[in-house]
């Protein structure tokens, strides 16, 4: 049997079900490795002691019908966990201990999973490199001083470094798919309305979705099956029949029509990414898929639209952090001064920047020019996809315009940081499902991803296409464990 922590979710659950491994053995193996991996800074809060207790409890009376029987899982620190500190990577929630559980994490525990701890992320999920976290940046296990992507950077690093078998992240403009691409892992953003937003610290409510981050496509299908559910507690949750994604997973994609949007061929895109995309296209053809050139004419307007819509929603959502009922408070002579000092000291620079953008575009006299304009362009972007999906079953693009960059390389230029999400943002604006799978490496040996975009609620189709491509690509993430300490 291979080393416990390098096993996939599928292997671990099989080994538990066949009684070859106990939950305690698995849990301790991940904890042991985490203790030697402090240098990566993936954990904001660990839950190791309780996790061991829970694993023993599971082993004493194992329910093997569960989909995640006794499997330890660390999650992004944006999911509220009952009794376990939840910070959203922010000073303002540094001491916040929720008294309730998010629906998607509850779905994990209801299927037998055990909480390992809470993973680092950009503050309020605002960032593409995990550098805006109050708890410091995360190291990408792929190479020293590289960012792991963001905002789910602790999550992507933890999966790539074998510190959790799988994890869940959240994706508002690419926060699952971009870090997955940067770390050689798989990340899926489901259709808007598939996974409940209840108990997830809100960033931009019309865009936020939780989703699985895993080592491979099969694990991704297994985890999606657990977390996707209709929930009365989220007013935008959609009641539809969800697939048994893992059971219906198939490499047979013969006859599937896959669209290639010409607008994703952007200026200054490295040749390696162009080549990666070509390889993906030829693999899809080898699998019997039909390749069709398509156009998504408003692609270039997606990022500017996103940088109005997301900050506008964020400025409204983050109005609740006022130092009154929970979170950090800075005292003031009067109520207004207390609000202003609390928010000034409690939020980091990027969060403040976005609140300021959002406040401005929603302010009197500017609402029509910015916010309403952006909502109209969002309609055009959605229509591009509607038109494309009348001709094709799925769309194949690169996940990101570059591989992982150095820590500190882009922190002084917000716009260049935002450009990271150029291929992922349109999918959130249109509410579609998208998955990033590792597809190759650049000249520095850093991973690169391909993105498969689907019709609403057609997660099964993009999983199947990814499963077929994964087989052909045969990606190996040779990580050297350079960060391990004794």
């Amino acid at each position: 049997m291979s080393d416990i922590t390098s096993q996939s979710l599928f292997e671990l659950t099989s080994n538990i079900k066949e009684k070859k491994l106990s939950s305690e053995e698995i849990t301790k193996a991940f904890i042991n490795r985490a203790e030697k991996s402090r240098k990566l800074n993936v954990y904001v809060t660990d839950n190791f002691e309780k996790a061991i207790d829970q694993s023993k409890k599971f082993d004493s009376n194992p329910n093997l019908d569960f989909k995640l029987p006794g499997i330890p899982i660390a999650v992004k620190d944006l999911f509220c966990t009952n009794g376990v500190r939840t910070t959203a990577g922010s000073k303002i929630l540094n001491n916040f201990v929720p008294t309730y559980e998010s629906t998607v994490t509850q779905n994990l525990w209801s299927q037998g999973a055990i909480l390992l701890g809470k993973l680092n992320c950009d503050e309020f999920a605002m960032g593409s490199s995990n550098e805006t976290s109050f708890f410091g940046n995360v190291q990408n296990p792929v190479g020293e001083n590289l960012v792991p992507g963001g905002s789910s950077g602790g999550s992507s690093a933890a999966v790539a470094a074998n510190l959790t078998p799988v994890t869940i992240g959240t994706d508002t403009g690419g926060s699952i798919r971009q870090p997955a691409s940067f770390t050689g892992t798989v990340g899926l953003k489901p259709t808007y309305g598939s996974c409940s937003r209840y108990g997830i610290v809100a960033f931009a409510s019309s865009l936020d979705q939780a989703g699985p981050m895993t080592k491979n496509v099969r694990d991704c299908s297994m985890l999606l099956e657990v977390i996707s559910s209709f929930d009365q507690k989220d007013s935008t949750s959609i009641d539809y029949k969800r697939n048994y994604y893992s059971k219906e997973l198939s490499k047979d994609i013969k006859g599937k029509k896959i669209g290639i949007p010409k607008e994703y061929r952007v200026d200054n895109m490295p040749d390696e990414i162009e080549q990666l995309w070509k390889n993906g296209i030829s693999y899809a053809k080898d699998c019997g898929a039909e390749i069709i050139d398509i156009s998504l004419p408003h692609t270039n307007y997606a990022l500017p639209t996103y940088y109005i819509v997301a900050p506008a929603e964020a400025s409204s959502n983050l109005a609740r952090y006022d130092g009154v009922k929970y979170g950090f408070r800075s005292p003031g002579q009067n109520l207004i001064e207390m609000y202003e000092k609390t928010r000034s000291e409690g939020f980091g620079d990027e969060v403040k920047r976005r609140i300021m953008i959002g406040t401005y575009v929603l302010s009197s006299g500017y609402y029509d020019a910015y916010y309403l304009k952006a909502q109209k362009v969002r309609q055009l972007i959605k229509k591009d996809f509607d038109d494309a999906f009348s001709k094709v079953d799925a769309i194949l693009t690169p996940s990101t315009p570059s591989s992982a960059f150095k820590i500190g390389e882009k922190t002084n230029d917000p716009v260049s940081m935002y450009l990271n999400d150029i291929f992922t943002v349109p999918i959130n604006l249109a509410g579609l499902p998208g998955i990033s799978i590792p597809a190759g490496k650049d000249k520095n040996n850093y991973p690169l991803g391909l993105q498969v975009i689907g019709k609403p609620f057609d997660e099964q189709n993009i999983l199947n296409i990814s499963y077929a491509l994964e087989d052909k690509i045969n990606f190996k993430n040779d990580i050297s464990d350079w960060w391990l300490s004794e």
Partner: protein, 95 residues
Amino acid sequence: MSIDLKTVKHISKLARISINDEKANKLKGDLNNIFEFIEKLNELNTDNVQALTSIAETTLRFRKDEIKSENIREKILKNSPDENKDFFVVPKVVE
């Protein structure tokens, strides 16, 4: 269009975030760069386009107005930065 220092200060007031002059100047630069990038949207004519307000094309569900959680006062006050028995405490509001 460019955002001046006075506007930055005004927005910070609206957002209830106090900023000093140095930060305000830095923010002015950042915001102008970001808005320059956002202005690209003006290339598009959207006169006859309906605004997209919700991606989920459903009307919001109605539910019965029922109390589902009781005796949660302690839970609600648990994370309070400053409490006094059953209340949240804030600086004096009414003289």
